[in-house]
Symmetry: C2
Subunit: 204 residues, 2 copies
């Protein structure tokens, strides 16, 4: 299933939480790359535990879900790919061109490593699943992922500009066929095809 | 390409960094779920920035890569799926049974959300790419991912026990065909097939 199904729980403005997530993304990056000794690591860990304790005093019991903002827009702040308050998300910003092309440009840092110096092949799949899903999904009409096929052409570099794009190839009844790819500066690295299914209640 | 290609850069013991990554995973979780107000969020952010500054005093310039431990074992500590010092990784522990089955049991928390309350379909792909790759990969003989096909049968629940498994279906020349799936307590959620290719220098 795709990820931006609307929800009527009114969302709080995210202005405080976006900088918090940015700080945690930087923390994730340096925690992987640090060569600090045991004492410095222990001191940093104590500060992190203290911050987590502070944030834990009032917690929603479950996942973030999708919230509807006062302007009616739905936001998936906790989403693993686009969630602005989810430090695990790069986060991708998804653009929808008038001709139907969906694209995103981004850099994946060391937290997304698979083979040494390269983006994990599964992270490429994660990004492409989302971008192809964003093609199939329309506001207030979610689409379920049926199948996703990835063809790995070349390794995808870490810490370099990347672009993912997707478009609808065709529709057949309740099935939407989407195609897309991930590319680095010197060309395409992974191709993707997805078949998305309209849920029963949205069929014409 | 799969992710555990050996590297002769001698790794440091990870005993300090594993608890640090665990603390950051908890911080990620509560930062998504917190309902703290602006003052508490700002205070937590200041502690996090201070911890990141502390860890940044000595940084390796690039990604973590793969390190060979004193006992000869290779470890991919920064890996996005299994890296014990990568807070983005759940991290999965991969088991290899004598009969060739590869499996992992784990829970995916709110940081892996896609549809409300469900694991992001792309995170399912990330996990299955890794587990199928772990079947194709042998020590000191990496395998490149050629294609990966995922069939989404049902949504995968967040915060519930999950199991991923994979095995080699057959080999044809330089191609290894692997199959696997992801399952929740009440049954299979995603099926996967992967074709992995032996790099030229490892062909018989």
């Amino acid at each position: 299933m795709h990820n931006q199904m609307p929800c009527v729980d009114p969302g709080r403005l995210e202005s405080d939480h976006v900088p918090l997530a940015e700080s945690i993304r930087r923390l994730i990056d340096v925690s992987i790359r640090t060569e600090a000794g045991a004492a410095e690591v222990a001191a940093a860990k104590a500060r992190i535990d203290s911050a987590a304790d502070e944030l834990s005093r009032a917690l929603r019991p479950g996942p973030f879900g999708v919230h509807r903002m006062p302007d009616g827009q739905t936001i998936a702040c906790g989403n693993a790919v686009v969630g602005v308050r989810n430090p695990v998300a790069p986060p991708l910003v998804i653009h929808h061109d008038p001709d139907g092309l969906v694209w995103s440009e981004f850099v994946l840092g060391v937290a997304y490593e698979g083979p040494p110096g390269k983006v994990h092949g599964g992270v490429c799949a994660l990004v492409l699943d989302h971008v192809l899903g964003a093609v199939a999904h329309q506001p207030d009409r979610p689409a379920f992922t049926g199948t996703l096929t990835l063809r790995y052409r070349r390794p995808t570099p870490l810490e370099r500009p990347l672009r993912a794009e997707a478009r609808i190839e065709r529709t057949e009844g309740v099935k939407i066929f989407a195609v897309g790819h991930l590319a680095a500066e010197d060309g395409l690295t992974v191709e993707a095809e997805g078949v998305f299914i309209l849920p029963r209640q949205y069929r014409g």
